[in-house]
């Protein structure tokens, strides 16, 4: 099974200052890795999900995500922002963005890895360790180590 994340799906210095651009940058990482077949279509799905209810979470987290026909394998792209970007959270802008891509037709087993990821994300120490990670490889390692399907 393909890993949820690899170092080339992490960008620790995104300088964009709005949601659209940040999301697009992360989508392009997924597209470059061949995990998303149609960046525009996937972006539209993410946008639609974001429009239903902003995915910003307390603690400076943005969590754009979607299930989409354009996604081939459950994937995670992570971006750290140089400047905070408003993601709709009540307590201020987000500094750490997790873009979750789920295939539209993925079977349940396939999606369990994403369920495990979501459960880890709730824990502040997990998020802090990612905030503190100096580079892409460290971010990828932490997630691969900590996110294990139940």
């Amino acid at each position: 099974m393909t890993a949820l994340i690899t170092p080339d799906l992490v960008d620790v210095a995104i300088a964009d200052t709005d949601r659209e651009a940040v999301t697009r940058r992360l989508i392009d990482l997924l597209a470059a890795a061949g995990r998303v077949t149609d960046a525009e279509a996937f972006h539209a799905d993410v946008r639609a999900r974001e429009a239903q209810m902003a995915t910003g979470m307390p603690g400076g987290i943005g969590l754009p995500h979607a299930r989409s026909e354009a996604v081939t394998v459950p994937s995670l792209a992570v971006g750290k922002l140089v400047e905070g970007v408003d993601w709709g959270a009540p307590d201020g802008p987000a500094r750490l963005i997790f873009l979750i891509a789920a295939p539209a037709s993925g079977d349940a087993d396939h999606l369990k890895i994403l369920a495990a990821l979501a459960r880890r994300l709730v824990h502040p120490e997990f998020r802090q360790s990612l905030m503190d990670a100096p580079d892409a490889a460290t971010v990828s390692d932490i997630i691969t180590r900590e996110v294990v399907p139940a």
């Binding site: 999900r49 239903q52 209810m53 995915t55 979470m57 307390p58 969590l63 995500h65 979607a66 299930r67 026909e69 009540p90 979750i100 789920a102 993925g106 349940a108 087993d109 999606l111 369990k112 994403l114 369920a115 495990a116 990821l117 979501a118 459960r119 880890r120 994300l121 709730v122 824990h123």
Partner: protein, 530 residues
Amino acid sequence: MKFVAVSSCPTGIAHTYMAAEALETAGKAAGHEVHVETQGAAGSTPLDPAVVAAADGVIFAADLEVQGKDRFAGKPLVDVGVKKAVHDAPGVIAQAVAAVEAARAAAPSSDASAPAAAAGTAAAATAAAKPAPAAPAAAPAAPRKVGVGTRIRQYLMTGVSYMIPFVAAGGILIALGFLLATIAWPENGAIEVTKVVDGTNGGELVAWIADGFSLGSLQSWAVLVFWIGKWAFAFLVPALSGYIAYAIADRPGIVPGFVGGFAAGLVGAGFLGGIVTGFLGGFLALWISRWKVPKGVRGVMPVVVIPLLSVLVVGVATALIIGPPLKALNDGLTNWLNGLTGTSAVLLGVILGLMMCFDLGGPLNKVAYVFATTGLVNATTSADAPAQIMAAVMAAGMVPPLAVALATAVRPKLFTEPERESGKSAWLLGLSFISEGAIPFAAADPLRMIPSFMVGGAVTGALSMAFGAGVLAPHGGFWVTPLVHKPFLFLLAILVGMVVSAALVVVVKGLGKKPEATEAAAELEEIAVS
């Protein structure tokens, strides 16, 4: 304390699980036990019924309808959105604790009033506590293997649960049209209202709105409301068929199901035909969607290939395979009925009653109805033989909805919540001679319901003929009673048939296979809320 919770979110991949983790963590921190059922994309493992039974309170952190709500009936409940659980799980836990304590304080012995009291204390919070919906006392179904029979019933129930609102809206509007008409016209309002304009003919309708409709005229409004109801009714069979197919094949099933249902209506196959097209369209779409196709074609499968092929096949099948035999049946029955004229009136009443109640708007029902209405041209007074046939047909056609209304009223426990609601509107539909009001019941459980209806209809038809009741109005039910010859005996015939039919419904519903019946009920409830 012990809590059970359900979490869900629109996408089913992130917030569902974050909320679950947050609630479990926050619960543990506060010294409570929290078990969460994640109704998300990665499959949903139902809570152990023993855990649910042991829980003090229930938390819904759900943005989608909670599936299997009835499992939590009677327990103090806080209903918050999924976001609140993610952002402030400790607050949600505190709210749930408060709801449980309030429930205990308010009503140590009675569950019923507890949730209401809980609402008072929790109202200050963003979400209100409210009672878990009452439900039949069905034991929570343990995870089980799903047999073919159960699957078929689930498909049917899905179709029925989506159809019910069409029946309710359309039926009540039609009845309302009749009611307004009886006020608006000095006499025969329930007949006049149907004659003003053909509301299914677009050109005629638009012309009437331009020239005939008047905002201040009650007659105009009666006509309009009547036809709006008819429009909603036009979707009855398509919706039944469409959502049966949807239950089978998911989204790809909707198009062949709807088109097939529409065609079934067109060729006069009624709701039984709609059930056939629903299954045909659903399995066809499912089969096609499983074809192994080259990657390039895969993208156009759901938007072009599946709808195109499935609609074509269902359309051809309905037109050429379902249609012609129905036409033959129709003609044969009509000839047979015509040949029966002159035989025993009571026997004719029995036959017409059986036909009216067999398919509720389907081919047999239509033949009987058309036989009666076309015969009316030979009647001059409401005491003539053709008027008696009309009366028998109308009376029998009123029996099924009235019977289910009565049955749901006297034995509510035998029926699901949506069925009980349908039962209430069925009073009005039955009184208005809208047999379709019983379709949700017949479609959900045809083998038990239809024979019960038929017996009641036969009794009513026979009595009406024996009494010699007659009417010249082709429609209107109870509202045309003033036009009926021997009105009291006419109503008595209906009353007797209704009671007989309702009694049979109660008996067969209760007898049969009891555990399966309650299980089916729980399923319908689940489907209705999901």
